[in-house]
C-alpha cells in the first residue's frame, strides 16, 4: 500500500462503488457453472473407464481360466481288481509322490500267477526290476518304498530278484520300457483308479493292456520307479484298479527354459491435451497474486490456453528383462499428441507480435478470436522410454502388473497455436520446446503368459515433465495423455 492521500481517497471511494447487475447475469452464471462441471466430469470419466476396463478384463480372464492339471484324458481304463486285489482305498491313502511297492507275498498285494491269470493269457510276463531311483528297503522284505524321481533320471543301478514284484501294487501311470536289455514295467503314482493286465508279446516285450485292447503296448509317462519283474513263467498279472493307471499321454517334454529376455511390440491409442503444470498455482485462485497467462511468464506471447482434447497415439518396439516379480524394459516409440482449439477466421496477412524480450516476431498468417474453426496443435515425437514394472497379483496364467517410467522424446515435427499480447492467434514452430521428458505410469494385465503370444493390456497415463513451449513464451503448458496400451511379446514366435 502507499501513504499518499490521493491514492488513499481514491481507494476508499472505489470500495464504495456499487452497481446493480441486470437479472440475466445470474442466469448466465448458472449456465456457466453447469457447463464447467460437465467439463470436469468428462476428465474424471477417463480414469474410471480405464479402471472399469481393467476390472472387466480380470473378470473375463478369471472366468475363462484354463484348467492346467493333468487329467489324463486319454487314460486307458483298466478293469478292476478281483477280491484279492489291493483296495483302491489303500492306494488313495498314498501320498502323491510316493511309490508303495508290494511283493506278491504281501497279503494286500496282488497275488501272482495262477490265481489271477486271465483267461486268454497264454504268454508269460516277464518283469524285471531295475532300480532306477533310491529305494529305502530291499525288495526281499516285501515292501519297497521308492522315492519319486524325475523323468530325466533314468539310471539303472542293479537288478533285483525276479520274484520280488510280481503283483506289485504300484501307483500308476506305467509304461513299458522295452529297450534291448530292459523289459521293464515302469510305473508311477496313481491318481486314477485304473487297472490292466500285464502281458508280453511275441517279441518278449512287455505291455500293460486293457481288457478291451489286448496286445497293444501302451507308452506311459514315467514318473517314478520301475516295477520289478520276474522271468517268464508267471501268469499275466492282473493288478488292482488303483494299482496301475495307464495313460496315453506322451512323456512330458523337457521343461522349457525360462527366458529372462522378452521382446515385442506395443500400441497405445488414447486422448491428449495441453495443460498447465500441476506444480503451478494457476489457476489456483487461493493465491492473492492470481492472474491469467501473464502471471507466471513475462511474455507477450503465450500458448493458447483454451485447448480441448485431441487424439493421441503411440507405437513401438521394446525389449524387456524379467526378474522374479519385476522387470525392466526399454524401447523406441513413435508418439503423436494433439489438442484442438476453437478459433475464428484465418487471415492471410502479415502480423507482428512481441515476445518476452520485446523482440518482434513476424507471422504471415494468423487467426481471429472466435469459434468458427478448429485448429489442431500437433506434436510428433521419437521417444525412448524406460520402464520399471512389478507384479501385483498372480492369477495363474494371468498376471497384473504395475509400471512406471520415464522417456526422452525429440519432437521431429510439430505446430502450436500461440496468443500474442493482443490475443492474435498465430501458428509457430520455432517457439516449441523440441526436447521433451515424459513420465508415465500404468497398470497392465498379462494374458496367456505361457502361450505363444502373451498379451499385456491396460491403461497408461503420460505427462510431459518439460514445457511444451519455449520457457520464454510459456506459462507452463505440458502435454498430458491417457491411453490403453496393448503389447505383444513375440520372442516365442520368431
Amino acid at each position: 500500500m502507499h501513504g499518499k492521500e490521493f491514492e488513499r481517497k481514491v481507494q476508499q471511494q472505489m470500495e464504495e462503488l456499487k452497481l446493480s447487475p441486470s437479472d440475466v447475469v445470474w442466469q448466465q452464471v448458472q449456465a456457466g457453472i453447469k457447463k464447467g462441471k460437465r467439463k470436469k466430469f468428462m476428465w474424471r470419466f477417463v480414469p474410471a473407464a480405464a479402471v472399469l476396463l481393467l476390472l472387466m478384463s480380470g473378470y473375463l480372464l478369471f472366468v475363462s481360466k484354463e484348467n492346467g492339471s493333468h487329467s489324463g484324458k486319454n487314460d486307458t481304463v483298466l478293469n478292476k481288481q478281483n477280491d484279492k486285489a489291493i483296495s483302491e482305498q489303500q492306494l488313495n491313502n498314498q501320498q502323491t509322490d510316493e511309490l508303495d511297492l508290494y511283493t506278491q507275498k504281501n497279503k494286500n498285494s496282488l497275488t501272482a500267477g495262477k490265481d489271477i491269470a486271465p483267461k486268454n493269457a497264454d504268454s508269460a510276463t516277464i518283469i524285471e526290476h531295475n532300480n532306477i531311483a533310491k529305494i529305502n528297503n530291499s525288495p526281499e522284505n516285501g515292501s519297497l518304498t521308492q522315492n519319486a524321481i524325475s523323468a530325466d533320471k533314468k539310471t539303472i543301478n542293479k537288478k533285483q530278484k525276479p520274484e520280488s514284484i510280481i503283483g506289485s501294487r504300484v501307483p500308476a501311470p506305467a509304461y513299458t520300457d522295452n529297450s534291448a536289455d530292459k523289459n521293464n514295467i515302469v510305473v508311477a503314482n496313481n491318481k486314477n483308479k485304473r487297472s490292466g493286465i500285464v502281458t508280453k508279446n511275441s517279441n518278449n516285450n512287455f505291455g500293460i493292456v486293457t481288457d478291451n485292447n489286448i496286445n497293444n503296448s501302451v507308452e506311459e509317462e514315467l514318473r517314478h520307479a520301475v516295477v520289478a519283474g520276474t522271468n517268464a513263467g508267471y501268469s499275466p498279472v492282473r493288478v488292482d484298479a488303483g494299482a496301475i493307471a495307464i495313460t496315453n499321454e506322451k512323456p512330458r517334454q523337457k521343461a522349457r527354459k525360462y527366458s529372462a529376455w522378452k521382446w515385442g511390440v506395443q500400441v497405445t491409442p488414447g486422448l491428449s491435451n495441453v495443460t498447465k503444470t500441476f506444480t503451478t498455482n494457476e489457476p489456483n485462485y487461493a493465491l492473492s497474486n492470481t492472474g491469467g497467462p501473464y502471471s507466471r511468464g513475462n511474455s507477450y506471447t503465450v500458448p493458447n490456453p483454451d485447448n480441448n482434447n485431441g487424439f493421441a497415439f503411440n507405437a513401438g518396439v521394446f525389449v524387456k528383462k524379467m526378474f522374479k516379480k519385476t522387470y525392466v524394459d526399454i524401447g523406441v516409440n513413435y508418439s503423436y499428441f494433439s489438442s484442438s482449439i476453437r478459433v475464428g477466421s484465418k487471415v492471410d496477412s502479415t502480423a507482428v507480435v512481441r515476445t518476452q524480450n520485446m523482440d518482434l516476431l513476424s507471422v504471415n498468417t494468423f487467426y481471429e478470436p472466435g469459434n468458427s474453426n478448429t485448429y489442431h496443435n500437433k506434436y510428433h515425437f521419437i521417444e525412448i522410454p524406460l520402464s520399471f514394472g512389478m507384479q501385483l497379483f498372480n492369477l495363474g496364467n494371468t498376471k497384473i502388473n504395475a509400471n512406471i517410467g520415464a522417456s526422452y522424446a525429440y519432437m521431429v515435427s510439430g505446430k502450436m497455436l500461440f496468443n500474442s499480447s493482443y490475443d492474435t492467434h498465430f501458428e509457430n514452430k520455432s517457439l516449441l520446446n523440441r526436447s521433451q521428458v515424459f513420465v508415465h505410469a500404468g497398470i497392465g494385465v498379462l494374458l496367456n503368459e505361457h502361450a505363444k503370444l502373451p498379451v499385456t493390456i491396460g491403461p497408461v497415463v503420460t505427462y510431459g515433465a518439460t514445457r511444451i513451449a519455449d520457457p520464454s513464451s510459456s506459462t507452463g503448458q505440458h502435454i498430458i495423455s491417457v491411453g490403453l496400451k496393448t503389447s505383444f511379446e513375440l520372442q516365442k514366435i520368431f
Binding site: Q13, M14, V25, W26, P283, N284, Y285, T290, Y294, M358
Partner: protein, 186 residues
C-alpha cells in the same frame, strides 16, 4: 467479519439457493470492480458473469485464510485482465510503453468529486493507464506484482502509473467543471 462458512459449505454441496445468496451478497460491489476496468456496463457485466462462474467452480480452493470478499475480488480482477486481453475493443489499446523516465506528481488534489465521478474519470483514461492505475492505486498491487501480471517491467509499470496519476490529477485540478460537464453529457 461475516461468517460465510455455512454458506460456502452449502454452495459446495450444489445448493442453488446458497449460490444465489452468495451471488446477491457480492454482485453489486463486484460489478463496481469490473466497471472500473471496462468502458461500458455491458462489458462489466460480462466480466462479472465470467468471474462468478470461476468463483463457484473454484470455491473449494478458498481456504478461509482471508476474507471471502477479497478472494472473490481478486478473481474479478484476474477475469477483467483476461477480458481486456481477449476483447477486440481493448486489446489494441492495452499497450505499455517502456520508459524509465516518468513524470513525478507529488501533489494531492482536493478530492471533491463523488465516487461515481472518480470512477468515470478513471474509466476515461487510456486502457493501459486505466488498468495500471486500478491495480496499483485501488487494488494495492505493487509494481513488481503488476509487472508479472501484465508481462511488463517494473519500470514500465511505474512510468505508466505516474502518467495515469498525473493525468487524473490534472483533470481534477485544472478542468474540474469541464470534466464534470463532459462526463454528464455522455
Amino acid at each position: 467479519m461475516t461468517d460465510y462458512r455455512q454458506l460456502i459449505k452449502d454452495c459446495l454441496k450444489g445448493s442453488a439457493v446458497a449460490q444465489k445468496q452468495l451471488y446477491v451478497h457480492f454482485a453489486e460491489s463486484m460489478l463496481g470492480v469490473c466497471y472500473r476496468y471496462t468502458k461500458s456496463l455491458t462489458d462489466a457485466e460480462d466480466v462479472m458473469q465470467d468471474g462468478f462462474v470461476k468463483v463457484f467452480l473454484h470455491l473449494h480452493q478458498y481456504k478461509s485464510e482471508g476474507e471471502l470478499g477479497g478472494w472473490i475480488r481478486r478473481i474479478m480482477v484476474t477475469t477483467a485482465l483476461n477480458y481486456l486481453k481477449k476483447n477486440n475493443q481493448y486489446k489494441y489499446d492495452l499497450v505499455f510503453e517502456n520508459s524509465s523516465v516518468h513524470p513525478v506528481a507529488d501533489d494531492d488534489p482536493e478530492m471533491f468529486l463523488s465516487t461515481k465521478e472518480i470512477a468515470e474519470m478513471i474509466r476515461q483514461l487510456p486502457t493501459g493507464y486505466q488498468t495500471i492505475f486500478n491495480l496499483h492505486a485501488v487494488e494495492g498491487y505493487s509494481h513488481v506484482e503488476i509487472g508479472k501480471m501484465l508481462g511488463i517491467n517494473e519500470g514500465t509499470s511505474r512510468s505508466q502509473y505516474a502518467r495515469a496519476r498525473g493525468l487524473l490529477i490534472s483533470w481534477i485540478n485544472k478542468n474540474k467543471e469541464d470534466v464534470k460537464k463532459k462526463l454528464y453529457a455522455r
